[in-house]
Symmetry: C2
Subunit: 379 residues, 2 copies
């Protein structure tokens, strides 16, 4: 079943006439996800309950979109426009339906949040609702969740493949890191290898010394110093991303604090892995991980100030509940969802450590598709 | 004057109490632009007419943001939150003002479009308006236009620098391209050089043969063949992007069609350059370019199906009117705006050519900050 067919099923379940995606300058990832080609200019994708799918694209991208859909066996009419002035007329008949789903989120400040569906921009929304005053527009969140949270076998195959390729590249890190190199140079070396077979799934974080204490450090021109080196990086091949963090020690004599943190964090990650199973509440792996760290004497609330994991897929932050001790246990994990498992400990302004692996949630146990070394790499 | 101070001036001119930017997963580029650091998680930036600026950021990014603002001499209070449930209370006092500007566009289907301001997502908008039912929210378009369309001297210096660095790398292309290489491998080699000094300003387009006929071709694993090779690529260093297209010929005997197209396109670009001057209507360079191509026998309407140029700056598609023969002549170009000048000719399914350079609009004439070779490179 191709993506349009699967979406069509979900559209019918939601009892809407169609699902409209508007993407401009890549603002909605579902354009790339559905079309199978990156069309960065403005395009409108309409997937219809009755199967009369349409794509409206700028003239210079329409042929490329048409070929991509054909290659994937997707039956959709591709129309083109050359200026935005043509759009109202072209969109009006498309929008003349009782109920259409759009990519917006609801309840953004609470547990029922569907922020994952929030892609549509306000100006586009105003323009669309103005064109179709009698149409009821509802959130597409259930469609997106159904389409992307649980992965199919083809996606899981792509995931295993991209994770294997990433690990092969990460194993070259000891050969890459040379005295006098900067964080940016290490990033460039890793991503150069990515680009020959795919592309970075996000800008790699390379943090030396105190930079490792910022979980989202912006990789800089700072030279690598002796001590902690945190590398958070991922590759995208085909339709799946990897997302891995290794924390290494530059030099031959790691501090005891580092060795202890590494070993305890490694173990806390293994413990969390036991709870990445079908139908588990999404807070449970995080609670168990933090219980262990707490037993080992770490003030986890102060030192580990981010979630344990996130869904991974077509993008590095994909669809599915966050794995965090702070969310309600009504949110569940299901078989064939893909997650990161990434406990961290950070001493602000001093140093930090994070070990991140990717797993597939299984019926009885998770499948580990990446690894961290049991003992820290010394380079 | 730092960016917050300049924004504060524009906020006062617009007669609003403040400007609120909401960015989640990098959804609003103004977060990076204003903070001077890439904070990809959720953050709220409020720049106040009265100078009481605030940033609300996730716990793990707040220290990094605080340091960046301090380095830039920006006086703003940085507060952090650990779950979204804390947000309504924290935002309520911020939003309790008569008039606030938000990043949304208006009139998206006509010439008066402010789509360049359209970053805010519908779910965020609904959440915000729900929290502040008595606040009037208006489009921030005049603030964004004032802040980013005309570049300051520091930005122009960064532009010249990044363009020079890009050209030095592009001059190595004849040494990079080897028999048997794929488009992706050439992209990787170029971007590897970028990453050592900055980062790609967008994913490079490398198109061999028929792929050159798609202006937004997705670089693929296809091996480079004899004939046309189109490379559209850009680098970002500090706060400015370059965006350059060279079209080369692989082999020693370029076709006459290619040579003629190259020479005529090169000349049409030079002609357009004469009209990139202060106070010129934004359609004029495009009209003059197309007149020339038409004289030379090209059916420009069929073969050149995109605009002549776009604003260039903090992002590759920056703020300012498009340069296109299809827009109204009430839109003007002004001194120190930065534009691409990129005529192209495409024979669908066969081959295409585009020559793209970057220029700074001057009082009397433009400053050319990049070049294409007068004769095509044969490699």
């Amino acid at each position: 079943m191709n993506k349009f067919e699967r979406a069509q099923e979900l559209i019918k379940e939601l009892n809407v006439d169609g699902w409209l995606i508007i993407s401009d300058e890549g603002s909605d990832v579902h354009s790339h996800f559905l079309l199978g080609v990156n069309a960065p200019s403005l395009n409108y994708i309409y997937i219809a309950a009755n199967g009369e799918h349409q794509v409206l694209a700028v003239e210079m991208e329409a042929p490329m979109i048409e070929r991509s859909l054909k290659n994937k066996g997707i039956n959709a009419k591709v129309k083109s426009f050359s200026t935005k002035k043509e759009l109202p007329l072209k969109l009006k008949s498309l929008l003349n339906k009782p109920r259409i789903a759009l990519n917006f989120g609801e309840n953004l400040f609470n547990d029922k949040s569907s922020s994952f569906a929030d892609h549509l921009k306000v100006g586009d929304y105003l323009a669309i609702t103005d064109l179709a005053p009698n149409t009821e527009f509802i959130s597409s969140a259930p469609i997106i969740y159904g389409l992307r949270s649980v992965k199919n076998q083809e996606e899981l195959k792509d995931l295993r493949n991209v994770c294997k390729a990433t690990l092969e590249i990460l194993e070259t890190i000891p050969n890459i890191v040379k005295k006098g190199m900067s964080e940016n140079e290490i990033k460039a070396e890793i991503e150069y290898q990515y680009m020959k077979i795919g592309k970075p799934s996000f800008p790699s974080i390379v943090g030396t010394g105190a930079h490792s204490a910022d979980p989202h450090h912006n990789t800089s021109n700072k030279k690598i110093e002796e001590g902690v080196l945190l590398i958070d990086t991922g590759l995208k091949i085909d339709q799946m991303c990897s997302d891995i963090t290794w924390t290494l020690w530059v030099g031959k004599k790691p501090s005891n604090e580092f060795l202890n943190a590494y070993n305890n964090l490694y173990e806390s990650k293994e413990i969390a892995n036991k709870y990445f199973v079908d139908k588990t509440p999404a807070n449970l792996p995080a609670i168990k991980c933090r219980e262990y760290l707490s037993e080992k004497g770490y003030d986890h609330e102060k030192l580990f100030f981010h979630g344990l994991g996130h869904s991974l897929g077509f993008v590095a932050h994909d669809i599915g509940p966050r794995v965090s001790w702070k969310i309600s246990d009504e949110f569940k994990l299901f078989e064939n969802m893909v997650y990161t498992n990434e406990p961290g400990l950070y001493w602000k302004g001093e140093w930090g450590i994070r070990l991140e692996d990717d797993i597939i949630i299984g019926k009885e146990k998770c499948e580990k598709v990446t690894y961290n070394h049991k003992e820290p790499l010394l380079i």
